[in-house]
Structure formats: C-alpha cells, structure tokens
C-alpha cells in the first residue's frame, strides 16, 4: 500500500495510536482503517472469541435525534422511515433497524437507542452522509438531526470485555444485552451500549474525542485486551451471521429477503397497532405474508476452498439459483463459511448446491446463518 493510494482519505482521531500499534492501514469507506495489527487476522479473531478485542469503529456515524416537541412525535417520525417499532423501545434500550426505500430495499442498517429525552443512532460509515441527509429531509418537523463529529466510537468485544471494562467503568457490569447507559469515566460522559457486531458479549462506547486515546490506552493496558482490525471484524461478524451493508444487504434486498424479519416487530406488521406506513411497505408486508422469492442463507462449502462474494450458486442440476454475498474463512469454525441469496425453493437448511470457484463447481450446503454460537448477555 503506497501513500498515493491512501491520499484523499480521512483519518480516524486515533490514527496515530493505530500506526503506533503497528496497524496496517487500508482504505475503507473513505477512511484509513487498520485492517490488522502485527498479531494477524486469525489470532485477532480467536483472541476476541477467547478474551477481549478493542475495535475502533469511529468511522461509523453517530447521530442524535433531539425532539422539538414530544419524544413520541420523534419516535413516530423515525418509525415512518423503518419497518421497525421505534415507539415501543423503552428508555435505556437499543434496537436494530434499517432505512428502507420505496421498493422495500435497504438504504442502510443501524442501531438506535431510547435515551429518554432523545434518540441516539449509529449508522454505517459508507452511508452516513446520505443517512443524515435522509433524516434531515424527513424528520425536521419532529426533531433536530445532530451529526456528532466530536466523539470516537470504540467496541470492546469478547467474553472478558465486561471484566476489563468494569475495572474502569464499574456500571457496565449491571447492563444487559442492548441496554444503553451514560456512565462516567474520569469525568468524561461515556455513551455505552451492551452490543457489538461480533456475536460476542461486549460493549460499544462513544467517547469524547479528546479523551479517546487515553481511554483506548487504558483498555489496551488490560491483560485480556488486544487491538483488533477490520479483517477480524469481518470474519467475526460473518461467523455470527451478521450482515455487511453493501454486500449482504443493499438497496435491492428487502429485510424479508435478508432474513431480518425478527427486526420487524408485530406493531408494524399487518394487523399491528401501526401496521405499514414505512417506505416499501407494500412489498415488505406482501413478502411477510407470502414469502420472498429469494432468501439470505448461511452456506457451508463442503471442501476447504473459501467461496467469496459474487460466487455464483447452482442447483445440482445446473440451474442458477443465486449468489454468495459474503464469504471467506471462519477461524473459529476452522473452515470456509459464507452467506448468500438463493431462490426460496433452494433455501431449506441442508439443501446441497454448487458454488463456482475458478471455473469449478464445488459442493456447498445451505446452513443456519449463525456459524458460531452467539454469547450475548441477555
């Protein structure tokens, strides 16, 4: 990687820390990001599952929706952008959601939290400018859309995350999966959620930028904690069956096709208290009732060869049935794993298909999306 290739990219607030830790910086979503540290992707992945890994996810967008009137009016306005029950999220709780377009496709997926007098939203780096514009275009009557640019976002993930973080911020031990809280660390207000994107228990922590390096160093000084790059973040989320926006979910995949129906609560479904009323409702409600034409599934190659994104999939008789959307090697599974979209008739777990890798059609079996059991603290 030459300097030339990295020119024009934004730098993270913790850039110098990453470089000092030996991070290999690569372009991602307009930022120079550490793809790995000297530990290497494989060991970083396994370390996160065994102990705790610290990820810098400050490239993601942090947004506050601050009501001009009532919280409820803001929640209802936000609901009009997503097939998700926003109003039903209790104070101190977070939920997964996605902005949809008029065709039912996904503009972005996100996390949002009820923080009593406002909603805190975290969106993907690659979509954040568009997301902020989208929210400003649709929510301005109900709330102000504050794009937060003076905070870093760190994720501490893994079975030892609670122990390591609680030494600095004791209040986190009482939090449960998808709880949010504002807790103090040496006078700084830390916006903490018990969540993440690795399939492990853990936390995402929004830190004032001026305190972020000291906080990151304090966590890295804990014996359980290693810095983890984007490479392991990708293999961890793949093993956990979690979608990568732009690959596994896009403007042309609906939440039902993406097997995200668990994120569409009863209130927004046919017969629910606030059924429909979100972009693409006609298609999404129809797919909920009648099933989608294709579906995102887990895919387990039978051999050792990884099947990467865009690998074409065929039925055993040679009929094209879909394509892999994310794939690679799962260090905890110790083998190749993938996810992709296949025609519903071929989407049953256990169905054998063929994936074309370098001109050869290799056997691959439809599998549950979660390859490595999740360990969320519910």
């Amino acid at each position: 990687m030459t300097d030339l290739e990295l020119s024009g990219l934004k730098r993270l607030g913790l850039h110098d820390l990453h470089v000092g830790l030996g991070g290999k910086m690569v372009p991602f979503a307009g930022y120079e990001m550490p793809v790995q540290y000297p530990t290497g992707v494989m060991k970083e992945h396994l370390h996160t599952r065994a102990e705790a890994g610290l990820f810098d996810v400050s490239h993601m967008g942090q947004v506050i929706l601050r009501p001009k009137g009532s919280y409820e009016a803001t929640a209802l306005a936000f609901e009009a952008l997503m097939p998700v029950d926003v109003l039903g999220v209790k104070p101190g709780r977070q939920r997964y959601g996605m902005f949809t377009n008029d065709q039912g496709g996904i503009l972005d997926d996100l996390m949002f939290a009820n923080r009593s007098d406002h909603i805190f939203v975290v969106v993907n780096a690659g979509c954040k400018e568009a997301d902020v514009a989208h929210m400003r275009a649709h929510l301005t009557d109900a709330c102000t859309v504050e794009y937060i640019t003076d905070r870093a976002l760190l994720a501490l993930q893994g079975p030892a995350a609670e122990a390591a973080l609680a030494r600095h911020v004791p209040g986190v031990a009482a939090m449960k999966f998808m709880d949010v809280a504002v807790l103090d660390w040496q006078g700084a207000a830390m916006w903490i959620s018990r969540s993440g994107y690795t399939g492990e228990d853990g936390f995402e922590i929004s830190v004032p930028q001026g305190r972020a390096e000291a906080f990151a160093r304090a966590l890295l000084a804990e014996p359980e904690v290693l810095p983890i790059g984007l490479g392991a973040r990708d293999s961890l989320r793949l093993e956990a069956g979690l979608c990568l926006y732009g690959h596994d979910i896009t403007t042309t995949t609906t939440p039902v096709e993406a097997d995200l129906t668990w994120a569409i609560q009863k209130a927004r479904r046919a017969g629910g208290a606030r059924a429909g009323g979100f972009p693409g409702a006609a298609r999404i409600l129809d797919e909920l009732a009648n099933g989608p034409a294709r579906k995102r599934v887990g895919l387990q190659p039978e051999g050792r060869a990884p099947m990467r994104d865009h690998t074409p999939l065929f039925a055993l008789d040679g009929t094209p049935v879909g394509e892999i959307s994310s794939g690679g090697y799962g260090p905890s599974v110790d083998g190749p794993i993938a996810m992709g979209y296949v025609a519903t008739a071929h989407a049953t777990i256990g169905t054998r298909l063929l994936g074309e890798v370098r001109g050869k059609r290799l056997a691959v079996t439809v599998a549950p999306l979660v390859f490595n059991p999740t360990t969320y603290k519910r």
């Binding site: 992707v41 494989m42 060869a305 990884p306 990467r308 090697y329 370098r358």
Partner: protein, 118 residues
C-alpha cells in the same frame, strides 16, 4: 536461490526447479487457510496460474515462473496451509522439470530481491 518479481523463490534441486513464496509474500498475504496444488505431470507455460493460495483476507495465485512440467507437489501444505506462514522458505509448493536450467539466470539474486522489497 533466485527470486521472481511475483515474490516466489526458486531453488535448484538436481535437474528440477523447486518453487515457493518468500517471507515478504507470506507476511503480505496473512494467515494462509487454503492451498490448491496442480496435478502431477501438468505441462505449464510461463505465467500460467499453477497454485491457488487463500488467506483469511483474499485469494491469490502462484504463476509458473518458467515453462516446464510439474513433477512433485507438497501435499503437506494442503493439509496444513499455515506452514506457508510458519516457514515460507521451507514450504515448497511444487517442483518443475525444465528443459534448461539456465532459464533461471534471468531471475533476481537475493541482493536484487531485497532491493525490490526495500
């Protein structure tokens, strides 16, 4: 030992050319998780894709450095792809029979290679 611009090392063993990848290449690839070797007795031309190496990050290939015939492959790498990272110089991928070993003269020596990777 000779080196190619594609970061392969070439070693002469009797009348055969033994091919592996350099430490620089194995570090750049990252953790190797899959190796696909050619069939024995395959006749290959310079630049043909002979070996597929997949790391956690991406797929890459080893190209035939010279014309020749594949006469041996290191199946230990198929069973344990991590050997490529642990011992790149000891992890040969294949051995080729070539018409004339002097074709190797055109490749870089160690000093020239070290200069390339700087």
């Amino acid at each position: 030992m000779k080196y190619t611009e594609e970061h392969e090392w070439l070693r002469v063993e009797g009348d055969l050319v033994v091919v592996g990848i350099t430490e620089h290449a194995s570090t750049a690839l990252g953790d190797v998780v899959f190796v696909e070797l050619p069939e024995l007795e395959t006749v290959v031309a310079t630049g043909d894709e002979v070996v597929v190496i997949e790391s956690v990050k991406a797929a890459s290939e080893i190209l035939a450095p010279v014309d020749g015939e594949i006469v041996a492959v290191n199946t230990a790498l198929v069973d344990n792809p991590g050997l490529v990272n642990e011992d790149p110089l000891g992890s040969w991928f294949f051995k080729m029979k070539v018409d004339d070993l002097s074709v190797l003269d055109a490749f870089m020596d160690e000093d020239a290679y070290n200069e390339l990777i700087g």
